[in-house]
């Protein structure tokens, strides 16, 4: 998008300093920008990771900065399903049902190792990775991941949406983007993400 702004792209530099109050851009750009910045997560907290997800929604880590503090209970109103916790055999059909009830476009973040691969519980009771049931876009490792790690995963997803990577990929393969995020501790340099193409 371009606008008559002093600095250029309003997505990067905001709307301040713009001499005119309109900007132009492609429709895709505007739609992606809107989708990225007001993604509403569905409440799918299952186990320990749910507590860290709620901590991310709370005041200290504040996911409201990204427009995501409204955790919608109804899947019809949600865009993003953060599968936070271990998925047991009994829960699997429920997960699929909630995923099906969400409207396109929808994304899935698999939070924690139990949701990504079954975690430390390689046994009869758990589904070994939620990607056996729903397509996953970002995997966030950790047991449980720090709220900052989860935020990193969410920002990664936002970047993928903004560049249009995800929607085009899903059209072709019907699967998630399969981006893996390294668990980041506070103070470390930002990690470069390369998605496997």
């Amino acid at each position: 998008m371009t606008g008559q702004s002093v600095d250029g792209d309003p997505r990067e530099h905001g709307l301040g300093g713009m001499p005119h109050n309109f900007f132009t851009g492609t429709l895709e750009d505007v739609v992606r920008w809107a989708r990225q910045n007001s993604m509403w997560p569905a409440t799918f907290g299952l186990a320990c990771c749910a507590l860290e997800m709620m901590a991310m929604g709370a005041a200290h880590y504040d996911v409201a900065r990204f427009g995501m503090e409204v955790f919608r209970a109804s899947p019809r109103q949600a865009d993003l399903m953060i599968v936070a916790g271990r998925v047991s055999q009994k829960m699997a059909p429920v997960l699929r049902q909630v995923y099906d009830q969400m409207m396109e476009p929808k994304w899935v973040i698999s939070m924690g190792v139990c949701a990504s691969t079954g975690g430390m519980f390689n046994n009869y009771a758990l589904v070994q990775g939620v990607d056996q049931i729903v397509p996953v876009d970002v995997y966030v490792p950790g047991c449980p991941p720090n709220p900052q790690t989860l935020l990193h995963g969410i920002i990664t997803l936002h970047d993928l949406i903004r560049t249009g990577d995800i929607v085009s990929r899903r059209e072709h393969t019907g699967a998630g983007a399969e981006v893996h995020v390294e668990a980041s501790t506070p103070g470390e340099q930002p990690v470069a993400i390369t998605s496997s193409r």
């Binding site: 055999q89 009994k90 079954g118 390689n122 046994n123 009869y124 009771a125 070994q128």
Partner: protein, 176 residues
Amino acid sequence: MTDADPPAEHESVPEENVLPMRHGVPVTEERGVAVLFPTRERYVEVVRALYDEGFRFCADLTAVDYLTHPGRALPEGVEPERFEVVVQLLSHEDRTRCRVRVQIPHDDPVIPTLWPVHPGTEAPEREAFDMFGIRFDGHPDLTRILMPEDWDGYPLRKDYAVGRIPVQFKGVPPPR
């Protein structure tokens, strides 16, 4: 019966080489906790007697599958079977605990329910049924509680595999 003395209410009959008994069943002491070993037939009666004695709170009811450890220590007169149901009782007034262990054979895994005496055993008994396949006679709702309704098999039995999937991982091989 013949000239056997009726069993004493508490502790041992004053004779040599006789097992300590309590409410008519063998009792041992394990780390300060009295452990009673009733048979299936006397099980509810013994728990009721303990209830009258003051053990009004049933803390826990669980089961153990001794398939791969048959040679465990049991008092004389108690025949080891495959399953054991273990009940932990607590007396609030005396601040003491006691344990009741009942042997259950593999080919007939049925035991009367404790639900009329301790309503709080309803969920633990369902869990023992779900995980071990032990049926509790007289239980109001003996259905699976943790596994899905149509699950096959009883997961905590020793002959039920853990269900590991092979993982492409360079590490220590699994213990079994």
